[in-house]
Structure formats: C-alpha cells, structure tokens
C-alpha cells in the first residue's frame, strides 16, 4: 500500500485534529483568527504538495481508493475553494458567540469528505465520503446559534439531507444486490438493463440530484443557502456541489456507462429543468443569498449537461465550468460577506451605492455575476462554449439553445444587483472597511475570471488531462 498517495488526506486530518487541540488549550477570550491562519497555511501547503502528485497514479486499499488526474484535479478545486473560503471568513467568524475555533476544524473535515469522494472508486467509499462531508455541513449550516434562520436551515438540511442519503443508500443496495459488487469497474462488467438495476440507478440519481440541487430536488437549497453562515453557503455552492459531480462522473461514465441510453434522456430533462427553474425563480428573489441559491441550481444544470456528451470533451467542459463557477462564487460571496458585515443584511437593497463606498468590491461582484451569466469576455462564456460545443456535437442542440437563452435571461436579475451598486444612492455615511485577506480573495477572483475568460488554454489543458483519466 502506497501511503504517499494518501498524504493529502492524512495531512488534512492531522491539521484538523491539531486545530481542535489548539482550540482546547487557548484561553476562551483570545481571538481564534490565528487558528484560521494556521488552517489557511496548512491547506495552502497541501495544495502546493498536490501538484507534485501529478504523474503518480495508483490505487490504495485494493481498488477502492484511486488517485488519478481526475481525483487530483478535484482535490485541488476543493483545496482552493476551502482556502479561499477560510480567507474571507475571518471577520465573519469573529461574530460567532461560541465555538469559533471549531469552525475551521469542521471546514477541514468537510474538505476531507470531499477529497475522499473525489478518489472513491466504489459505491461504499462514495457513501462514506459523502456522509463525512454532509454531517459536517449539517453542523456548519446551523453554526450561527444566535441566528434563528441558521438553526432552521441546519435542521432542514439535516432532515432532508438524511432522507436523500437514505435514498442513495437504498439505491446502492439494489445495485449491490443485482451486480454483486460495489466497485465501479465490476458493476460495469455485470451491468444489464434489468428493471432492478434501473430501479437502483434511479434511486442513485435522485440521491445525487439532491446534493447537486438539481430540479426537482432543489427545494432545500434556497432556505439552507439563506440561513447558513455566508462562508458556508459559499462552500456548499462550490465544494459540496463539485464533490457530488466528482462522484457523478465516475458513477455514470464508469459504472453505468452501459446504461447511457437510459440515464441520458432523464438527465437531459433534469438539466434543462434546472436551468429554466433556477433562472426564472431567481428573478423574484430579494435577498442576494437566495438569488445566488437559485442561480446555483441553474449552474448545476449547466454543469450536468456536460455529462450527456459522455466523452472527454464533455467532461473537460464540466471540469472547466466547475473551476470557473468556483472562482465566480468565491468573488460574489466574498463581497456578500463584506456587505453583510457592514450592513447586517444580504438584501439587494444593502448593496445600494456600493460602487461609491468600495469600487473594488462592486467591480468584483459585477464581474463575478456577469461571468456566471456567461457573457464574453469573462470565464463563464468560455466555460459555456466548451460545454455546449461538446453536447451540441452529440446532438443536444435544443439543450444548447435553452442554455444560451436562459443564461441571457439570468442577466436580468444579475444586472439588478449591478444597478443597485452603481446607480442607487448610498444608504449611509459609514465607511466600509474591508480586511486584507478578503480583499486578496476578491482580487484573485477578479483576475482569475478575466484571465480564464480571455486565455482559457492553461485551465482547459489541466481539465483535459483530468478528463482523460476516465478513459
């Protein structure tokens, strides 16, 4: 067994445990910001280390845990997402009344769950990773005990999340029962389009669609996104979703590749529904977190559509899109955090006159939102182009047309935020102070969105290398 392949996961566990110990031995009154800095440095180190793992491909624990370029790609996405989230949540965490230190440790455990999902090569490991991530998120969503909405969101997420896990597990048991294995490759080998297996597949689809907040399994998303502490909302949108996609790729393109005839039509309809419902319902939201929640439903639909191509080009498009969505989400939520800290509200009205108070934050928000809408020359456009070229080549032109049209409609509500920031009068005279790390995250997001949009080649190549690992 090659332990080096597990080094990233081990490092994250050690780091998380260390943080808990530090927290125990630190006086109650002392700021927990130092723990955040330790966590950020640790995650950054693991991220740098992960680049050295390219080229070393192998499996651990038999075939149950695989480290290939695809897994590495996803782990880097998770590590980056967590790192950026930690950086822009320093100020936010200080507002919590208790357990501040555990916040960072819990974030790392969520990260661990995601990383396991990226490497999982059998249904049971998938489930373990998923549950590590999900249980941590149940806690984190309800972390803000002072805020009743946060607690409500935590309970809601716990109940619905557990139900969906149960559905998923039930599906897995059907598959195990009728193929005799949990390993993706063996499942694929014993595959037959029997009603029992299709039943299991359907349950698994439902379970994952919940995690991805794909319509019609998206109902939890707006409430949970709205109630959860904003950094957690960001991580839910980027990390949890990306992790579910990491699993989805292997499940559908390795284990159930033979049943494409059955799952492709279903997923294409679900993807189209997500785009339409997510974007249309977002129009009526007055809170920006709810709006971003619906927007994330739509974005999941876009990413999901890449799966329909069932080839390297489609997977490349998905991976590319996941990264640019992460970059845009980080930017948007960093600004939301700053505005929330300043005004205590996430209503779109709270963004009035932001361009006067902080031109940088207003610009970052604008660029992030417009990138999500997919307007050239920003990253979102390149991502949609990669995705849609891949699926149009497989004959899904109708989905491409829906996708483009809906993305342009989404500009309507994104631009309402832009309008509030740039043309509405400033609400009060208080100076908006932005702390350094948050500013850094905002700048990184801004530059990355512009860079990926104008020169997508480097990221596309990384995504391509990762996509080829599946075949």
């Amino acid at each position: 067994m090659n332990l080096a392949l597990l080094s990233s996961e081990i490092a994250i566990v050690v780091l998380a445990v260390l943080l808990i110990c530090f927290d125990l031995f630190m006086p109650h009154r002392e700021t927990r910001r130092s723990l955040g800095i330790v966590a950020a440095c640790g995650v950054l180190a693991v991220l740098v280390h992960s680049f050295t793992q390219y080229g070393t491909v192998g499996t651990v624990y038999g075939d149950y845990f695989v480290v290939d370029h695809l897994a590495l790609f996803f782990k880097q996405v998770f590590l980056t997402a967590t790192l950026l989230t930690i950086l822009f949540s320093f100020g936010y965490v200080e507002k919590f009344t208790q357990n501040k230190g555990e916040f960072y440790a819990l974030l790392l455990f969520a990260l661990l769950g995601m990383m396991i999902m990226a490497s999982a090569h059998d249904l049971l490991t998938v489930f373990i990773g998923l549950e590590i991530m999900a249980v941590v998120f149940y806690v984190l969503v309800g972390f803000d005990l002072e805020n009743i909405k946060s607690s409500e969101a935590g309970i809601k997420y716990l109940i619905l999340g557990s139900a969906s896990s149960a559905v998923l597990l039930y599906g897995i048991s059907w598959i195990y029962g009728f193929t005799g294995s949990l390993l993706f490759k063996e499942v694929a080998a014993n595959m037959a389009a029997t009603p029992a297996i299709l039943m299991g597949l359907g349950l698994i689809v439902a379970g994952f669609c919940f995690k991805l907040s794909i319509v019609p399994f998206h109902m939890w998303a707006p409430d949970v996104y709205e109630g959860a502490p904003t950094p957690i909302t960001a991580l839910l949108a980027m990390g949890s979703k990306a992790a579910a996609f990491a699993v989805l790729l292997r499940v559908f393109l390795v284990a159930f590749a033979g049943l494409k005839l059955y799952w492709a039509p279903v997923l294409s309809v679900l993807a189209a529904l997500s785009m339409i419902v997510g974007i249309v319902v977002a129009i009526w939201q007055s809170g920006i977190k709810r709006m971003l929640a619906y927007s994330s439903v739509a974005q999941a639909g876009y990413i999901l559509s890449g799966l329909l191509a069932a080839n390297a080009a489609g997977v490349k498009g998905m991976l590319f899109y996941i990264v640019l969505y992460m970059v845009a989400t980080v930017g948007a939520f960093a600004v939301v955090v700053a505005v929330e800290e300043h005004s205590g509200s996430d209503a779109i009205a709270a963004f009035s006159g932001l361009a006067q108070k902080s031109p940088l934050l207003a610009l970052v928000m604008t660029i992030s939102l417009i990138s999500m809408a997919g307007i050239p020359p920003l990253a979102g456009f390149a991502g949609k182009l990669y995705l849609f070229i891949a699926i149009a080549a497989q004959g899904y032109l109708w989905l491409v047309v829906i996708g483009f049209v809906m993305s342009m409609i989404s500009v309507y509500y994104y631009i309402l935020v832009v309008k509030a920031m740039y043309t509405h009068p400033v609400q009060d005279d208080r100076v908006l102070t932005v702390n350094g790390p948050l500013k850094l995250v905002a700048m990184v997001s801004l530059l990355a969105t512009l860079f990926i949009g104008i020169y997508p080649e480097p990221l596309a190549e990384l995504a391509n290398a990762a996509a080829r690992a599946l075949w």
């Binding site: 031109p359 050239p376 456009f381 849609f388 149009a392 491409v400 047309v401 049209v405 740039y422 020169y455």
Partner: protein, 510 residues
C-alpha cells in the same frame, strides 16, 4: 512599418486608456476628458494611417497578425482588416472620437462615464478587426453591460423611464446573442471535421461548402435572430428608439452609429460568407423585413414629436436599405450595403450630436416647442442640415452613392421590393424636411435668444463628422473603392459555393 502590429496597437491604446482612467482619482473631471480625448486621437491617427496604407489594389486581408491562442479549439488571436472591415473601423474611430467631445458636458462621475464609453468603443473596434470568431465573440458583448449603466446613470427620461429603456435594450441584445451563439456553435461543429476545427473566419468561409443545407438554414436562422436584433431589424427593433432616446448623447451616437453596424457586419461576415445556402434560403425573408423596416419605421418617424425619436426611427428605417442590399445577394448591392453602413453611421452620429446640442442649448427636444433655431444657432443648424440632407440621399453627400448602389443592385433581384424601398425615400424626405423646417426655420422665437451657438469643443463632432460626410460625398471612390476591394474577392469565393444554392434563391416566393 511592415511587421509592426498596428491593429493590436490601436486596441491596446484604447485598453491602456481604460486602465489609465481607472487609476485616476474619482474627483478628476477635466483630466479624464483630456486623457480620453488624447487616447482617442492616437487611436484615430493610427486608424487613419491604416486606411491610407491599405493597398486597395491588392485587396484582401492586410495588416494580418496571428498568434495561436487556444490550440485545442482552433482559436488564434488573429487580427486583420480588409475592404469590408476597414471602413467600419474608420467609422468607429470617427464616431468614437466625436462622441467624446459630444460628452464634454458630463460632469457627474465623469471617470466612470468615460470608462464605459471607451468600453463600448473597444468592443466595436475588436469585432471589426478580429478575424477569429472566438475573439470576435469576446468583443461582441463587451458593450452591453456598460450601455445599461450609461443609460441608467446618465440618461434622460422622456416617453419611458430609463430603467425600462435600459433593461429593454439589454434584454433584447442579450437574447439575440443567445441565438447567435447557438448558431456559432453549430457553424463551428459542422464546418470542419473534428481535429481540424477552427474559429478562423477565413477557414470557416473556405469550408462553407462542407455544411449541409439544412444545418446552414438553421444556423443562419439563429445568426439572423442574433444579428438582426443588434441591427434592429423589423420585428426586433423596438429596443432601439427607447434606448437611443434614453441614452446620453455620446452613447446614442455610438449605438446608432457603430454598434448597430456590428450586427450588420456579423451578418455579412458570418452569415453571408460562411453560410451561402443559409443566406440563399432566408434572403427573400430578409428582403421582406427590409422593406418593413424602411416603410414602417419611416411612417412611425413621421408621427414623432421628440427629436431623438425621429432620428431613432429614421435610423431603423435606414437599416432597411442595408438589409435589402444584403438580401439582394449580388456584388453591387453588397458594396452598397457596406458603404451605406458607414454613411448611415456617420450621418446618424452627427444627427444625435446635433440633437444633443439643441437639447443642451434650448432645454427641450420637443419639436412643436422648437422653431427658427437657424437665427440663433446657425452652426448647429448647419450640422442638422448636413445630417438631414445626407439622410435623404442628397447627391454630393455621403448618403447618396451607397443608397443608389443598393437600389441598382437590388432592382435585378427584387424589383417590387426595391420600388417599395425607393418609395421610402419619399417618406424620408417628408419627415426630414418637416423636422428641419419646424426646428430650424420659420419666425425667430424670442425664448431662444439667450441660447449661445455651438463653440469650442462642441464644434468638434460637427467639424469631424460633417467634413467626412462631405468628403466621402464628393469623392465616393475613396469609400466605394475600398469596400469593393474587400467584397470582390469575398464574393468570388462565395460564388464557388453559391451555384448549388442558387436554385433555392427566392425559392419560397416563386
């Protein structure tokens, strides 16, 4: 100067200008304007050099720059101009230059205003000089969000609120481009086999024959929806009058003068040259829409009371001539269509600039309130006369030759439509002459006696645009020769693909 990337230099000058403006302090006012003017002067100078140095005798793409960009998709950073795009580049720079001076009286947040304005100009410049579809797309929508903010922040409210006008403009343009993008994806996938795929426009045009007819028809339809809404083709025009009326003067000038032409340019460059069978199928429809544009918009213009709405509908009406030139599908009419884009761009920009001045001086755009302005504002009156006469196609001004060329070419293909279109000139004369008579002539009105005539920087749009109107009117060959040098080789290439499709030509209506 061989080898010097002059087109990139033009682009970078403008981008550098934007960065520079962004770094200026927020309270800067005059500095912002001077800086913008300087940047535009340099870019205009470079463009004039390119226009002069372009060898029309050789024709084809010149000043070509090519750097591989995204190898996997077949994208290259590829710039170049030919006789089709160079006049439009010149148009963009001239109108852009004039619009800076027409916006000299912006005192509210001038820094943001001029950054947004430069973004509009960069977007147009980029679309005209890029020879790669991907790069074209990067620039194509650059102006939309800035336009929205410009209308909202610095616009005016007359018939509709500026929120409404701005949102309408944004949604129309974006929805249109959604279909356009779908068309581009189709085009890209079907033109060349996997592995050889390319976004290079020349490569796509060469591969025009590979795309099967049904695909061409669908793809062209998508492109028509997209570019049609950008160039305010009937029935996708309704954003234009409200948008132009609500936008500040400089933005109306760029939108009506230049950004609309981006749609027409895209339709010719992508639709016509890459999808010959598609255009052959849709040409009769386009001709029909063109006549609807000309006649319907002219009628509506007659009924307008607001100066800006008259000119906005007039510009929609003129778009009909360009569309008719495209639909007629022959070399002469296409030459006319492209030349008319330039003519109409300069003319409508001058119109909007003068209307802006009239509004600044008299505080109204309502035609019944105005009258006898030639007494108090002779220079502005001269500008309006120039624009008006060019608009109704007076020989000796830029408007005449292109329009005449279009009719000449189109008459062979669509005699009935062409006659209807020519009748449009009568209506144009009606509303233009009525406008000029009601606003400029008649008895002197005492309430305008304190109005000072245009002077100083206010004269720049009039002098620049007016002199070009006359110059190209007196020497039409400077424009037509250039256009023809670009259209002729493109047409020759198109003819290789067109015979197969020519059976379809007008097939629906025969």
């Amino acid at each position: 100067m061989a080898g010097f990337p002059i087109l990139t230099a033009i682009l970078l000058t403008l981008v550098a200008g934007i960065v520079l403006l962004a770094l200026l302090p927020r309270s800067a006012n005059q500095a912002v304007k001077l800086m913008t003017a300087a940047v535009m002067s340099i870019a205009l100078g470079l463009t004039l050099y390119v226009y002069k140095a372009y060898d029309a005798g050789v024709g084809g793409l010149q000043f070509v720059e090519q750097v591989p960009w995204i190898k996997e998709l077949g994208v290259s950073y590829s710039l170049g101009v030919d006789g089709i795009s160079l006049p439009l580049l010149l148009l963009t720079m001239l109108v852009g230059y004039a619009s800076i001076f027409a916006s000299w009286d912006v005192h509210e947040r001038p820094k943001e205003f001029f950054i947004h304005l430069l973004l509009l100009i960069v977007g147009a410049v980029g679309t005209f000089i890029s020879q790669d579809l991907f790069i074209f797309l990067l620039f194509y929508e650059l102006g939309i969000v800035p336009s929205y903010l410009l209308v909202l922040g610095w616009g005016s409210e007359k018939r509709v609120s500026k929120e409404y006008a701005g949102m309408k403009l944004t949604i129309y343009l974006l929805l249109g481009s959604a279909f356009m993008l779908a068309g581009v994806v189709l085009l890209y996938l079907y033109a060349l086999p996997e592995g050889l795929r390319s976004f290079n426009m020349a490569a796509l045009a060469q591969a025009a024959g590979n795309v099967t007819e049904p695909v061409q028809i669908i793809a062209f339809f998508f492109l028509l929806l997209g570019f049609g809404s950008t160039l305010s083709m009937w029935p996708f025009y309704s954003w234009a009058p409200d948008g132009y009326a609500a936008a500040p003067t400089g933005v109306s000038m760029i939108h009506a003068g230049v950004l609309k032409k981006v749609g027409a340019y895209g339709l010719i460059r992508l639709g016509l040259l890459v999808l010959p069978a598609g255009v052959a199928f849709w040409a009769p429809f386009i001709a029909l829409f063109a006549v609807a544009n000309i006649v319907y918009a002219a009628f509506v213009a007659i009924a307008q009371q607001d100066l800006k709405y008259v000119v906005a509908y007039s510009s929609i009406s003129h778009i009909g001539y360009i569309l008719l030139g495209v639909a007629a599908l022959n070399l002469i009419s296409l030459d006319g269509a492209i030349a008319n884009m330039v003519a109409h761009g300069l003319m409508s920009a001058l119109f909007f600039a003068m209307i802006g001045l009239v509004e600044v001086k008299t505080k109204t755009r309502h035609i019944p309130d105005l009258g006898g302005l030639a007494h108090q504002l002779p220079r502005i009156a001269a500008g309006l006369m120039l624009a008006g006469m060019s608009s109704l196609g007076l020989p000796g001004l830029i408007g005449f030759v292109p329009e005449f060329t279009i009719f000449l070419g189109a008459f062979r293909t669509y005699p009935v439509y062409t006659l209807l279109a020519i009748s449009g000139i009568v209506f144009t004369a009606l509303y233009i002459l009525r406008l000029l008579a009601n606003v400029l002539f008649g008895p002197r009105k005492a309430e305008f006696d304190q109005c000072r005539d245009a002077s100083g920087v206010e004269m720049v749009p009039l002098v620049v645009l007016g002199s070009v109107l006359v110059l190209f009117g007196v020497f039409p060959q400077w424009l037509m020769g250039m256009v023809n040098s670009g259209m002729e080789p493109a047409w020759a290439q198109l003819m290789q693909h067109l015979p197969a499709a020519s059976a379809l030509l007008g097939g629906v209506f025969q």
